[in-house]
Symmetry: C2
Subunit: 242 residues, 2 copies
């Protein structure tokens, strides 16, 4: 008889604890909003020390499956926030020395469909929100930070207007990566602010008319404009971001 041994599970306990709790959340045995049992209780149930449980909890906390509501002790089960996930994505890309050219190319291909889809799926509330964001850009774009922030918010509002979570989540990192270089460009190119304002106006009009084709085209121009701005500002597109 051939007696072979399986590879012993070398995964540390904190990891297996994390996996166990994750599994409960993904299978929706633990539902969103529900409070997690106390650490001591978890430790007792799982047969490990509280310190081990705590290490596992840190892991779940950072992957966005648990959160501590402000002014609350116990942790509650939650779903990862799109914004937080997108931050991780853009951080990863930045660490991998992604260039602005790569980001711009992706924007060129991905944003026009987002705009097109938004023109199809937007509802009255989306329109209102977009108009508000655009108004804020027009009102306060003197400070670089404000201008960049409002520009990004307009993109985000478009993503939300598609009512497609995949669109919204996937284009969020692109916006995140656009911001730092936009900050550099917007101050060196005099006409940048007015061109952004114009693009936002056209896009909003297209959305109001529910005109997907126009939305797509104005977005395409908007993105091309960014590139022109970078070239005018003399920024090297192959330079890494962040």
């Amino acid at each position: 008889m051939n007696v072979e041994f399986d590879q012993i599970a070398l995964t540390p306990a904190y990891r297996r604890v994390a996996d166990a709790i994750t599994e409960r959340i993904l299978s929706r045995t633990l539902r969103e909003g529900e409070r997690l049992p106390p650490e001591t209780e978890l430790a007792r149930q799982l047969g490990v020390n509280r310190s081990t449980v705590r290490e596992a909890l840190r892991e779940l906390e950072c992957s966005g499956l648990l959160e501590r509501r402000p002014g609350s002790k116990r942790m509650t089960v939650t779903r990862p926030q799109h914004r937080a996930i997108a931050k991780d994505v853009s951080r990863a890309l930045a660490l991998h020395d992604v260039t602005f050219l790569e980001v711009w190319t992706a924007l060129t291909e991905f944003e026009p469909p987002v705009a097109e889809s938004a023109a199809r799926s937007r509802n009255a509330a989306d329109l209102e929100h977009l108009a508000a964001v655009r108004a804020r850009f027009d009102a306060e774009n003197a400070a670089t930070d404000k201008a960049v922030h409002h520009t990004a918010e307009f993109f985000r509002a478009l993503g939300a207007a598609t009512h497609n979570q995949v669109f919204a989540l996937v284009h969020e990192p692109l916006i995140e990566l656009l911001e730092p270089s936009l900050r550099d460009m917007i101050d060196q190119v005099a006409q940048a602010r007015s061109r952004i304002a114009a693009a936002q106006r056209r896009l909003l009009e297209a959305l109001e008319r529910r005109d997907p084709e126009a939305a797509r085209q104005w977005m395409a121009r908007h993105i091309r404009d960014f590139r022109k701005g970078y070239e005018l500002a003399g920024i090297d597109l192959r330079h890494r971001i962040g």
Copy 2:
């Protein structure tokens, strides 16, 4: 004199420790591949207990900034792996009850540009890899798991062939989300395998000819085919994934 108090920093120590180390990595003070100092040393330097350091390390580990090389004790600084990040993204989307319709819509818009870009940027090695993946699909697609896996791998290889990290990272979650429902479909639709094989052949030919337009169009058909398959299999597109 107006004596106002700042909001007391209520962020727990483990979080601030994590932030401190993260900052060091992002600023590249700690470079990739470098080994982190021992936990006791970190605790001493930061003036906290080792348990606190360990909680912080779990956080960095799960965000992919640190990893433990197999058969190694100390942790080394690393960059988040695209695959791991994509897993988080698709998990988040699944938890948010994304529907197959949303995924399919995103595929419709995002994959053709990826194919187009791949046709432009592919090099000989990419072509070879793609051919190998396609050959594997042709050779072993009897088992559902294999067929699904090879289909996904072909998409991944296309993403890599764009030589654009943003493309590659952004479409990865889409593939991840496609897999489970593809698994359901592929067994119920007799012609699914041959249609996938045909699409892969056409795509590969387009890439060989460096024909972006053909690549885009064949990909668009490929994605449309998926939808037809789901409809033939009687799968509700509005059903949530996962």
